[in-house]
């Protein structure tokens, strides 16, 4: 394991992480500052192969069959200067009945013009379990453009759950493009929680294919847009097998001059499959608001409390 350098410390502190988390030999991690791998550690049953690229990093991560990685794996991706491009190409393979939980910290605290491009290929074999949380910390200047893309294959009886969270600093531009295919009895859960301000632009395009019998999927987005921020959510769920169950849920709260659009697309190609969708867009729910008003809270505070809850 490398020593924690000053730059790595900035990445870590931006992510709200103590550097002792990464000093623990039992915690696997990669710390990447733009295209410099500043730290890396693996644990038994987890293979990490990472190489620096001109503008980022290419990594391949494998969790070996029947291995349960006990401690959350930390991936820290930072661009500390005001400008820069960071491109990450990641291949992740969860072998049969293996399990891992990964927390990605994406830290761009000074960004004026930063692009972060992440291309993921995720393959979860039968009975595998992958739980992924991606937390972004951006500057308040709105100069970040983030392009997360992933192709996910969820094998028989496997589970994939992801949460994408961008609540600190300005979004800038985020353009999420995720596609997941589920085999029989697989479970898919993808959640995005994003708060936009200024002229932030939020785009989400997620597609879930429930190919196998009894597969289940939920696509969920909870978004708040304030000032003149905009959000455009197109989430698609397609069920193609008997007893596949899907749900698409979209909540967008709009304040000020914000704009929000949601297109939940649900498609059923088997008479025994079932998909529901729910979209609530606009101001906060009036009963929730009136409840807090009736306790004496000023309206702006009440709206803020409701939004904070929805984004939690």
């Amino acid at each position: 394991m490398n020593d924690i350098t000053a730059d790595a410390k900035k990445v870590l502190s931006g992510a709200g992480l103590q550097d002792n988390v990464l000093k623990d030999p039992g915690t696997a991690h990669i710390v990447l500052d733009r295209n410099k791998i500043l730290g890396m550690n693996s644990v038994p049953g987890l293979e990490i192969d990472a190489n620096e690229l001109d503008e980022g990093m290419e990594a391949s991560i494998t969790v070996k069959e029947n291995t349960v990685i006990e401690k959350t794996v930390h991936l820290c991706f930072g661009v500390i200067p005001e400008k820069g491009i960071q491109r990450i190409i990641m291949d992740l393979r969860i072998e049969p009945n293996a399990s891992i939980s990964v927390l990605s910290h994406c830290v761009f605290p000074n960004a004026v013009d930063v692009r972060h491009i992440m291309k993921g290929n995720i393959d979860i074999a039968e009975g595998g379990n992958y739980s992924y949380l991606e937390k972004h910390v951006h500057s308040g200047k709105g100069g970040v453009r983030v392009y997360p893309q992933a192709e996910i294959s969820v094998g028989k009886g496997a589970r994939f759950s992801s949460v994408f969270e961008l609540l600190k600093g300005r979004v800038g531009l985020i353009d999420i493009d995720y596609q997941a295919v589920c085999a029989a009895e697989a479970v898919l859960e993808m959640t995005a929680r994003i708060s936009g301000r200024g002229n932030d632009v939020i785009k989400i395009n997620e597609r879930g294919h429930l190919r196998g019998e009894k597969s289940r999927g939920v696509l969920k987005s909870n978004i708040a847009v304030r000032d003149s921020a905009s959000a455009d959510i197109e989430n698609t769920m397609i069920a193609e097998a008997a007893y596949a169950r899907g749900h698409v849920d979209c909540k967008e709260i709009v304040r000020d001059q914000g704009k929000a659009r949601a297109v939940p697309i649900v498609e059923v190609r088997h008479p025994r499959a079932h998909i529901t969708h729910e979209a609530a867009i606009g101001s906060v729910d009036s009963k929730q608001l009136e409840t807090l008003l009736a306790r004496g809270m000023p309206e702006d505070d009440a709206v803020e409390l409701i939004i904070q809850g929805m984004l939690r």
């Binding site: 009136e290 008003l293 009440a302 904070q308 929805m310």
Partner: protein
């Protein structure tokens, strides 16, 4: 003079008169019950006093401590001390119970929220870290609503069917909470069609078809439950809503 006076209130919703020239005085520090059959207008009256959206276009007036509050918004009314516990309380995704109750607390002190939860019959260790969301049962949600009202220490608490969804054991806790409110000087309006709840009150008002049919001490109004019949021309009388 009452602390809260409803003066000749008429409210139409979608063209029908839901409250019809209704006048009621509520007395400071007393516990009142408003009873009446389904559809009598009890919830409508509660919403009108609170000034909720859709219940503001009234004729007549609402007087709080001698001043009209007709033109005040919900939060302004609340800051004057009026609050409402909904018949079916709202659920909030992701909002921790602790934040929800603190939102209504006046001068909160450490340990207050735990005390309040215990008072309404919920164990703090089981509930404090939960969200006020759809995973709570109806009865649990009602109890949390009541805890948040206790936290507010209001001048006037309108409790719309405080017993609905509450089991027999917990009912005593709800009544304890009403006693706490009374003890701290809160004027309480219990909206109910339960005789047990009615018995917690000192004065009662019988409403039907948006009109006050009868008022008096609880024993008088209780007859309504005995007779199972109200001396009024009921909804299905076609003339009722005509001018």
């Amino acid at each position: 003079m009452g602390i809260l006076e409803i003066r000749n209130i008429t409210l139409k919703l979608d063209g029908s008169k839901i409250l019809d020239d209704l006048s009621i005085d509520f007395w400071e520090g007393h516990v009142h019950a408003v009873v009446g059959p389904n559809g009598a207008g009890k919830t409508t009256l509660a919403n009108t006093i609170m000034g909720l959206e859709g219940y503001r276009n009234i004729s007549g007036d609402i007087i709080l401590e001698g001043e009209s509050i007709r033109n005040l918004s919900v939060d302004e009314r609340a800051r004057r001390g009026i609050t409402l516990g909904w018949q079916e309380p709202a659920r909030f995704e992701g909002l921790p119970l602790r934040d929800y109750i603190s939102a209504s607390s006046r001068n909160p002190k450490p340990g207050d929220i735990e005390d309040l939860l215990t008072r309404v019959g919920l164990s703090p260790s089981d509930y404090l870290d939960r969200a006020v969301d759809r995973t709570l049962s109806g009865g649990e949600r009602k109890k949390i609503e009541l805890a948040s009202i206790l936290a507010m220490k209001p001048e006037i608490a309108i409790l719309d069917e405080p017993d609905s969804g509450i089991d027999v054991e917990s009912l005593e806790k709800i009544f304890d909470a009403v006693r706490i409110l009374k003890k701290q000087g809160t004027t309480v309006l219990l909206i109910t069609h339960s005789q047990t709840v009615l018995k917690q009150a000192e004065h009662a008002f019988l409403l039907c078809c948006g009109r006050l049919q009868k008022k008096g001490v609880v024993s008088e109004i209780e007859q309504y439950f005995g007779d199972k019949c109200i001396p009024c021309d009921h909804k299905n009388n076609p003339d009722l809503n005509e001018e």
